[in-house]
């Protein structure tokens, strides 16, 4: 096998470093966003409207009614705005199949203002309060059941994400904080369907978030997790590192001693 010709330790190291830096990057991103309940004031709405007209209206329309480049924001609620803007998905860097998270363009106050403005357009799912995100009493086992029923099909049972059609992906949840997860469920960003509180109650959502937090601990009792990608990376590992090491041993055994 061609794979075995490279030094197995080198490839292993690349894998390790790659996964390590990804993890670190996620950790850094998740540290930035602390949930904070938004308090809506008149001035905030006014500021939000200004920001909207400057930064969003070109795609979503002057009255947020939507256009060819962006959907209507009437009735999406403050949760959707907060999710999209605070994770950096909006404003879009470039049109593509899917908006990807990046460094947010708006600070917390600006994001809150935008959310407050959009929330005035029509009633919609709101940014959750601290209390709604309190998972200390949530049932982790039930959360796991709900996670596997409603979330694992796209995000994977490990929560590391998965492929959707035509280049779209269900992102990894490993760096998402409680607020982001909650807002994603109630607002259904992009490909994701909506899981409204009426059919998946707040307690259910707390359970799911609690379970995801359990996954985010990134405990791997059995050793290095190989990115939690399942049998694919396990197979690669056995050929590159495992069989590679044994073939090196075999070459050593077969070589003449000096």
């Amino acid at each position: 096998m061609a794979l075995n010709r490279r030094h197995p330790a080198a490839l292993f190291a690349v894998l390790v470093v790659g996964l390590g830096t990804t993890g670190a990057a996620y950790a850094a991103v998740s540290a930035q966003t602390a949930p904070k309940a938004a308090v809506r004031t008149e001035t905030q709405v006014e500021q939000g409207k200004q920001l909207f007209l400057e930064g969003c209206s070109s795609c979503h329309g002057l009255a947020a009614q939507g256009g060819s480049d962006g959907p209507s924001l009437i009735g999406v609620g403050s949760a959707a705005v907060d999710f999209q803007v605070s994770t950096g998905r909006m404003p879009l860097a470039a049109p593509g199949v899917q908006a990807m998270p990046k460094t947010p363009s708006y600070n917390e106050a600006e994001t809150a203002a935008l959310a407050a403005f959009v929330a005035t357009l029509a009633p919609g799912p709101a940014i959750p309060t601290e209390e709604m995100l309190n998972t200390s009493n949530a049932e982790v086992a039930l959360g796991g059941e709900l996670f596997r029923t409603n979330c694992a099909q796209c995000h994977g049972a490990n929560g590391v994400g998965g492929a959707l059609s035509q280049g779209r992906v269900a992102p990894s949840l490993m760096g998402s904080d409680a607020k982001t997860i909650y807002e994603a469920m109630v607002s259904g960003p992009q490909s994701m369907p909506v899981f409204a509180n009426s059919t998946l109650s707040i307690e259910d959502k707390q359970g799911i978030i609690r379970y995801i937090q359990e996954l985010q601990k990134n405990e791997s009792p059995g050793g290095f997790s190989l990115g939690r990608l399942g049998p694919v990376t396990e197979g690669l590992f056995i050929f590159i590192a495992g069989l590679g090491a044994l073939i090196i041993a075999a070459v050593w055994i077969g070589a003449k001693a000096k």
């Binding site: 059941e145 796209c154 369907p193 009426s198 990134n218 405990e219 000096k258």
Partner: protein, 347 residues
């Protein structure tokens, strides 16, 4: 070089420098080059020490293994750079055990390579073919036995025996009969029926149509699944009756499998892939596409659940739904076709 003589007389079984069998040129073996340990007693002693050190370390590792097994609780976690947060007992016993075994192996090989004689030995191959006379003897033995048995002449015995032997495995197959039931209509039926409520999976709550937002997805099961108390039957029914419920703008619905099978844009489809039966609920609300994570079959739920990509040949069966007096979703009837993968009798 070797004390094993080749029957041909030539040490390599060659003639005039050519291999007797293949005719390729035969070269004499290269002279043996002595190793350091062969000529330098110091080098030999060093190799001896190295081997003994490895065996000694192996014993130490086994002791460490036992200590780790007894002393480190199975529940304690430890954070190790690169590897992550792992079970301390697991990694300690695994590491010591593995190293102990590995050291025995490396020690033994090192011993063989450095200290055991490394002069190559030539051994002749013996013929894999028996001499002609022997083959003829076997043939005549067989012929004698066959003649003595009268297998050839006594036709009636031969035929009845062959008949009996042909039937002898029948009980072995028949005895397997009670492995399972006949298929019957099992693969065609689910417990869905007219008026059965749709309830959320895992939490088993009835679903109000008005509670489902646009773009919403609910993983659901029939309410009467809870009444199936027999464990096995419950699992089997769950494997067929699981559905997904989605809501889309009625204007987006291109076609449905039946007229008015939706309720105000709320549609219900089987969750069991028509390809190989994986639960399929990767619903992408913008495109209304449903993707199977196993083999990427993709169904368009806004267009009768037709296959738009992948290996599935059949559209996703749709469940006709409506609401009861209180606005809860109920089935209009059972599925009008078998759910799940195709089978020979499906038609």
């Amino acid at each position: 070089m070797n004390e094993l003589e080749h029957p041909t007389g030539d040490p390599y079984g060659a003639k005039d420098g050519k291999d007797l069998v293949s005719g390729i040129t035969v070269f004499p073996m290269e002279p043996h080059v002595p190793r350091k340990a062969d000529i330098d007693p110091k080098a030999a002693r060093r190799a001896e020490r190295q081997v003994a050190t490895m065996f000694g370390l192996s014993s130490l590792m086994i002791i460490a293994f036992v200590v780790a097994f007894v002393k480190i609780p199975n529940t304690s976690l430890i954070s190790i750079p690169i590897i992550g947060v792992v079970n301390a007992n697991h990694i300690a016993i695994g590491f010591t055990f593995g190293l102990a075994i590995l050291l025995i192996g490396i020690g033994a090989i090192h011993w063989a390579k450095k200290l055991m004689p490394d002069e190559e030995v030539v051994q002749a191959r013996h013929a894999l073919t028996s001499p002609d006379e022997e083959r003829k003897e076997v043939e005549s033995s067989f012929k004698r036995g066959a003649a003595e048995s009268g297998f050839k002449e006594r036709k009636i015995i031969r035929r009845s025996l062959l008949g009996a032997l042909a039937l002898f495995p029948v009980p072995l197959v028949v005895l397997l009969r009670d492995l399972g039931p006949m298929p019957g209509t099992r693969l065609r039926e689910t417990i869905w029926d007219k008026g059965i409520h749709l309830v959320t999976d895992a939490t088993y709550k009835k679903i109000k149509a008005s509670d489902i937002p646009l773009g919403g997805l609910i993983n659901a099961v029939p309410e009467n699944l809870l009444e199936v108390e027999h464990e096995e039957e419950n699992l089997n029914q769950r494997g067929k009756a699981s559905i997904i419920v989605v809501r889309m703008d009625p204007a987006d619905i291109v076609s449905q499998q039946g007229q008015d099978w939706d309720y105000q844009g709320v549609l219900a489809f089987s969750k069991i892939c028509t390809h190989l039966g994986c639960p399929t609920s990767l619903y992408q609300q913008r495109t209304h596409h449903l993707l199977c994570p196993c083999h990427q079959s993709t169904f368009d739920l806004s267009d009768s659940g037709n296959v738009v990509f992948g290996p599935a040949a059949r559209r996703m069966p749709q469940l006709a739904i409506t609401v009861d007096a209180e606005g809860y979703l109920v089935a209009q009837s059972g599925f009008n076709q078998p759910v799940g993968p195709s089978f020979w009798e499906r038609g």
